[in-house]
Symmetry: C2
Subunit: 335 residues, 2 copies
């Protein structure tokens, strides 16, 4: 055990063990997109996300407004994955001295604009000096409709589905990191700089009560589906040919000589929703999402199996184990 690499997953396991199981009013603790707290009549969803300059964003091609938007989007996405209504937020902001007024104003404006779109009110925070720009957002949401959908309910035979498109944010990041202009590939650049959290879709999915397990795709479907499968003590397969990769992502891959499939599997921060359901319910679910979220597509990309691990079925029919091939901040070779 102690000689195994001390990865992000291992840190989360260490903390989970130290904390012990959820109980009492804490319905779901460490390990889901948000903690679930039942208090009186209400069910609260609470989530937190830390974004660090040089790790999560590069200010060479990310404006203050983009950064505020992205920080809010990443957190709202965790609430979307629980089918929640966003309510309150707390912002911690670390800035290298001296802080620049315009940058802070743009960051706050970008953050609040997206928050307000989704009904979120900033209720408090903390400000401090830091060696690099450091943003922590903690959001509180309220469960809507049939209650929060956790990630542990997948059953063998379930269809594995995603909203929207995969790999676009990674395409945008690769495009901008290569020094190219956002105007040259506006769709993928926007997917990276101004991602749209799927709150309406998440509530539609939770409301119908037909979804068995749900989470957001923040580290790539390979590792996120592995987490969903592990939480439900099941396995999963993904059909490479079914992954929803947009034409803009394919174009960017072509121009950069990159593999769009790798972006779709292991690229981070798409902030789409990953869920499982009975295949017979797919038409109703697809219609509900399209109606609630302005025509947002749902794509069936694979299925839940007995056993464990995630296998990718390639175009040639060969199956490859891709369990946890997504992003881990502390996995050797990643940074």
């Amino acid at each position: 055990m102690t000689s195994a690499p001390f990865t992000e997953e291992a840190i989360i396991r260490l903390i989970s063990r130290a904390v012990g199981p959820a109980g009492g009013e804490l319905i779901t603790g460490i390990g889901d997109d948000a903690a679930v707290i039942a208090a009186g009549q209400a069910t609260w969803l609470v989530t937190t996300d830390l974004l660090v300059q040089g790790v999560h964003f590069n200010l060479d091609y990310t404006s203050g407004g983009d950064l505020g938007h992205r920080a809010m989007a990443a957190n709202l996405s965790d609430l979307a994955a629980m089918g929640a209504v966003p309510r309150w937020g707390l912002l911690s902001l670390g800035l290298p001295p001296p802080p620049r007024r315009r940058f802070v104003q743009e960051l706050i404006d970008g953050m609040l604009a997206l928050g307000r779109e989704h009904g979120l009110v900033l209720a408090g925070g903390d400000t401090t000096a830091a060696p690099v720009v450091t943003i922590n957002l903690c959001l509180i949401g309220e469960a809507a409709g049939a209650g929060p959908v956790t990630r542990d309910g997948a059953r063998p035979g379930d269809a594995v589905c995603v909203t929207g498109w995969l790999g676009a944010a990674a395409a945008g990041l690769a495009w901008l990191a290569a020094g190219r202009s956002a105007a040259g590939a506006p769709e993928v650049a926007a997917a990276h700089l101004r991602p749209q959290p799927r709150l309406a879709a998440g509530r539609a999915l939770a409301h119908g009560g037909l979804v068995h397990a749900m989470m957001d795709v923040s580290d790539g479907i390979a590792s996120d589906l592995a987490r969903l499968a592990a939480a439900g003590q099941v396995g999963a397969t993904v059909q490479a040919g079914r992954l929803p990769i947009s034409a803009a992502t394919s174009r960017a891959a072509g121009e950069l000589g990159a593999d769009p499939l790798a972006w779709a599997l292991s690229g981070g921060e798409d902030f789409e929703l990953l869920f499982t359901c009975d295949p017979a319910d797919l038409p109703a679910i697809t219609a509900a999402v399209a109606q609630a979220a302005g025509g947002l597509p749902v794509t069936r990309v694979g299925e839940i199996t007995a056993g464990e691990g995630v296998r990718l079925i390639r175009a040639d029919g060969r199956a490859v184990d891709i369990t946890m091939a997504g992003f881990d901040h502390f996995k050797p070779g990643e940074s």
Copy 2:
């Protein structure tokens, strides 16, 4: 306006303006120790604190266990200042790769040990790479008894009081930063490394309903009292000779050739409670705090006045304006 230094206070003002006033279920928003949210039968207090290596702590003389304890103490102190019962916490942890297992284990153990003492359950979090150790804790508490005590209720003629001792944490920091051993001045070293949040005292103060305004002393009484006075649109005086400076703090000052009065006024992170009340209620309040918090003393250090600003009455009777002489992360000359 734009040529004024862009300090921590200015950043908070910018964010407050962008957010707008509290309203609806948000009773108290940006600017108090914790946000106050009325939801159904319950009143929730929510607070967040960002601690950054090199800014808030130095790992040369702070162990993982000390750090976990301090991070939890700083946050619990914000709940203490509202008279709250701690309930749930969310931890964001940024670590330089590769993370060290023993350090993380000690940090979590130190954090959870103090949290459990006060009934707090860790409900979730986030882990990421970062250039320096970065800890954000967001805590949720529940209002107890007569409800939360905010910082804006001070009235002219009120006594200004503090619990415990001032300047001890700054003494401990100065002692350790000078390269001296914690064993040489255990009381002040512990005040810096293992501060005790005043939760029982805070609840006793809130419960009686006799306290008009309250906050915790995290940046030094000079700036914290200025914030309390400004929130209530009043002024305040502080008697230098009345500031509760422990013998251990005076001894450390003597050995280091430092001024203990400066530590008491402007040293950070004492995590004592600063409050105002009718002078006639002081005996009852003092007795209630002593009973609830194991003999913790309450010291009357000054009074609330009409007007604005904070004046220090020195031993020779001269009055000096000390408004905002405490710590600001972005004030020129501080870091």
